[in-house]
């Protein structure tokens, strides 16, 4: 499957020129075709409520559903589906009264505002994560954690996670209570970014900036990670990780970092960028990224890792200068995704490059780097300080990465190295947005973009040529299997195969010529049934396995060539290392022939 980059603005809004930035995204784990996303997009109908973006086809198309209370648009907004309940949760700052609301909706596609579970003043930047647990006796509990900077907290220890252990159906406030993450003194508060990360076994990490000096910029801060080992359900939640330097909970991953509060990188304000992600296959592995510096020009993202539940941390695995909006996610294959937006300054003017790096070895070797967008730092009619948003978003579901970012929406293929699709009317020849009439030019502005980066390309065709040796007794009536991507396929087609001196060609998948290509219930001898991909191709051995009819059945092979085609039409070739012209397979000489 190819990389997908989609401009999320629906076709019916082709006239719009808003700054639709600071996007957030969730994929429904129980139905990955369902996605919800948010941005600063206003309701075109000015109803007094704001919209979310919704998709029911895996992100290929997007629409707006007006469901957020508190004004035609929201201020801060994040959203998450729980694991299996289909319920969508959101944390917002309302535009009308700046209160933080925690919201819930059972059917994210239905009309009508989300239910308000919590409504509170003097809060900042709610960031929601959610999971569903088995509560026993068939009970499913949604566990929801909203990181936020709570100015109501006592003693200026503001970093907080609003937590509910059972949020799906109970009436407001749905069991939400504030869990204080900060235990140390601060300069008056913590930084705005408080980020939770949930592992399915109940390990929850929280990351935030502890501000130690905030009189004038640049501020000084510590980067803190806390942990809870049982869903934050105990009497002292998020105190499982203690820093030996002071015996307080919360590991000081970095201390004394500089925060250029409200400085600018290009036209974008900076000052509190942070991301954390836990490996879904191993709760001891956690990744952290934050940005620091004394000004925009030296604003640097640091990426680090712990493999012992946050007790010790690596040095910088990645260091990205002049970058902001880090995102982190880890797939079920252990691949680490690292998203960021980097300001580059070619002679033609500042540009924002949105990068997705992926690493399978913990960044020991240079990661794969995808540039999803390379757009001008040009904000149309928007004159504010937050054109692309204080955060972008990266998540992983299964083996794949999904995310959202914002940027200039000029329809220019050169700006999108991995292709892009627009729903709104656009002319890529003249690099002009067009209105709903398909004719009238529309000024460029800032749009949200969705991306899906599958891990590995789907294999669509497997073709193998096997030549039986041209010597007496070389042929066989035995069975032959191809091992690939962690499974086997039987190589058998109508007529006789594996005759002396004959080359047989077998095709599995597209253009199949083998017996039972679809078989019973479509589960026999078809790569499509298992969605095998190039990642599996690379990690599992490839081989021919001979199953002789009896102890005296031997088979001589002189040539094997395997060709695997993926859905981007790349052909991967492998063959057998056969010295001396041929090799015998049989009970007494070995049954497997490896391919490389």
């Amino acid at each position: 499957m190819a990389i997908l980059v989609i401009n999320m603005i629906p076709n019916s809004l082709s006239n719009e020129t808003n700054r639709d930035s600071e996007p957030n995204l969730s994929v429904n784990p129980s139905n990955p075709l369902q996605l919800a996303a948010s941005a600063f997009t206003p309701d075109p109908g000015a109803s007094g409520s704001g919209p979310i973006f919704v998709s029911t086809d895996g992100g290929n198309t997007w629409s707006l559903n007006v469901v957020l209370p508190g004004g035609n648009r929201t201020v801060d907004v994040t959203l998450r589906f729980a694991t299996s309940s289909n319920v969508l949760y959101s944390g917002i700052m309302r535009l009308d009264n700046t209160n933080m609301d925690i919201l819930r909706k059972a059917n994210f596609l239905a009309p009508g505002n989300m239910d308000i579970l919590v409504d509170r003043a003097n809060e900042d930047q709610p960031y929601v994560e959610a999971a569903t647990t088995d509560g026993g006796a068939g009970v499913q509990n949604d566990r929801v954690y909203v990181g936020h900077n709570d100015f109501n907290a006592p003693a200026s220890m503001t970093a907080t996670a609003e937590a509910s252990l059972n949020a799906a159906t109970v009436p407001p406030p749905a069991n939400f209570t504030p869990d204080r993450l900060e235990v140390r003194t601060t300069c008056g508060q913590d930084g705005p970014s408080i980020r939770p990360a949930i592992h399915a076994n109940g390990t929850i990490y929280g990351a935030f900036f502890r501000w130690t000096s905030c009189g004038s910029a640049p501020f000084t801060a510590d980067v803190v990670v806390v942990r809870d080992d049982n869903w934050g359900s105990g009497s002292t939640p998020f105190t499982a990780l203690v820093d030996p330097s002071d015996g307080n909970s919360g590991k000081l991953v970095a201390t004394g970092v500089s925060i250029p509060w409200m400085s600018q990188l290009g036209t974008q304000r900076i000052g509190s960028q942070l991301a954390v992600a836990v490996d879904p296959t191993d709760s001891q592995k956690v990744y952290l990224a934050w940005a620091d510096g004394t000004s925009g020009s030296n604003y640097t993202i640091h990426l680090r890792r712990s493999i012992d539940k946050g007790v010790t941390w690596s040095g910088d695995l990645r260091t990205i200068v002049s970058a902001t909006n880090p995102g982190l996610a880890v797939s079920i294959r252990g691949a680490v995704g690292f998203l960021y937006q980097k300001l580059t300054s070619p002679s033609s003017g500042d540009r924002w490059e949105t990068h997705l790096e992926r690493s399978y070895d913990g960044f020991v070797n240079p990661p794969t780097d995808l540039i999803l967008a390379n757009v001008p730092d040009n904000n149309g009619s928007y004159g504010g300080q937050n054109p692309i948003g204080d955060y972008a978003c990266l998540i992983s579901l299964g083996k794949d990465f999904y995310g959202t970012f914002a940027g200039n929406n000029t329809p220019n293929n050169a700006n999108f190295p991995n292709n892009v699709l627009y729903q709104r009317n656009a002319n890529f020849m003249t690099n002009t947005l067009l209105g709903t009439d398909g004719v009238t030019p529309v000024a460029a502005s800032i749009d949200p973009f969705f991306f899906k980066v599958p891990d590995g390309n789907i294999i669509t065709k497997i073709e193998i040529d096997i030549e039986t040796g041209n010597i007496q007794g070389a042929g066989t009536n035995g069975r032959v299997y191809l091992g690939i991507c962690g499974r086997e396929f039987r190589l058998d087609k109508p007529g006789d195969q594996f005759r002396v001196g004959i080359s047989d060609n077998f095709i599995i998948g597209l253009g199949s010529n083998i017996e039972n290509p679809n078989g019973v219930n479509d589960i026999i001898n078809s790569p499509n049934s298992y969605e095998i991909d190039t990642y599996l191709l690379n990690i599992f051995p490839k081989y021919i396995r001979f199953e002789p009819q009896d102890n005296d059945d031997n088979w001589n092979v002189s040539r094997v060539e395997l060709r695997v085609t993926d859905d981007t039409n790349i052909v991967h070739k492998f063959d057998a290392l056969i010295s001396n012209g041929s090799i015998w397979l049989g009970e007494n000489s070995g049954l497997l022939l490896g391919l490389s």
Binding site: L64, L95, A121, D124, T436
Partner: protein, 248 residues
């Protein structure tokens, strides 16, 4: 009240509650066309005339929209009516929720109704600001400067107002009482919360609708005492003076 007046009032009420007023007829089953969720009451409306709709959506004339009717039993396919509705879905097409309906003979009155309603709504919105105001003045900005926050606890947020104040020479006092100069606070921030709030610079002339120690806008802990004009309606050009004097 005559039947005509009663009907006018009904239509005016529907118009006031609706962002969309469309003349059209139902002609299709929504399930074959609409890209959003549908119910048994969702049908496709072919728009013959747009009486009112948000400008950003362009010309909807001749286009199809999905509309969820309050009661699908009463609809006559292909007969033209006026539909009052609000939107809930913006995709490839627009999804509407019906507010009400009217006969096409009412369409002659519709533009008059809409104009009167929009003027009334605008007056009501401004009147609301005037009612909340402690002062209404005309004048000119002499200078602007940051507000000194020394000694006061302030929170730090990307949504902080970053208060400035404008020293205004008062020409007239239309509501309340004040001396000839006044300091009016305003947010210099261009954050989402404040981007629409009026910003002032030396030389600005106009009408200020002023609250003292406002409790409306911004994070409560970020608010500061004093006079302010924070809503986009709270600063008006001198052209509006007659209207404002009438509304006060």
């Amino acid at each position: 009240m005559s039947n005509g007046q009663r009907r006018f009032l009904e239509v005016a009420t529907l118009a006031n509650e609706s962002k969309f007023i469309l003349r059209g007829s139902i002609n299709k089953n929504a399930s074959k066309v609409f890209d959003g969720p549908i119910t048994d009451n969702t049908v496709i409306l072919r728009i013959n005339q747009v009486i009112k709709a948000p400008e950003v959506l362009g010309n909807l004339g001749g286009k199809d929209v999905a509309i969820e009717l309050k009661n699908s039993n009463s609809i006559n396919t292909n007969s033209e009516q006026i539909f009052f509705a609000n939107a809930w879905w913006y995709g490839k097409q627009i999804g509407l929720l019906e507010v009400g309906r009217a006969a096409t003979k009412d369409s002659d009155d519709m533009h008059k109704v809409i104009n009167e309603m929009e003027k009334k709504n605008a007056d009501q919105a401004l009147e609301k600001r005037l009612d909340l105001a402690d002062l209404v003045i005309t004048g000119k900005v002499l200078e602007t400067r940051p507000v000194s926050m020394k000694g006061e606890r302030k929170i730090i947020s990307e949504h902080s107002a970053l208060w400035w104040e404008a020293l205004i020479q008062v020409d007239s006092v239309e509501k309340g009482q004040h001396e000839d100069k006044i300091l009016i606070k305003f947010p210099s921030s261009m954050d989402e919360i404040w981007i629409d709030a009026p910003k002032f610079k030396p030389g600005d002339i106009g009408i200020w609708i002023v609250q003292k120690d406002q409790r409306e806008k911004g994070l409560p802990l970020d608010r500061i005492p004093g006079y302010s004009s924070l809503d986009r309606l709270d600063f008006q050009s001198m052209d509006e003076l007659d209207r404002i004097q009438e509304l006060i």
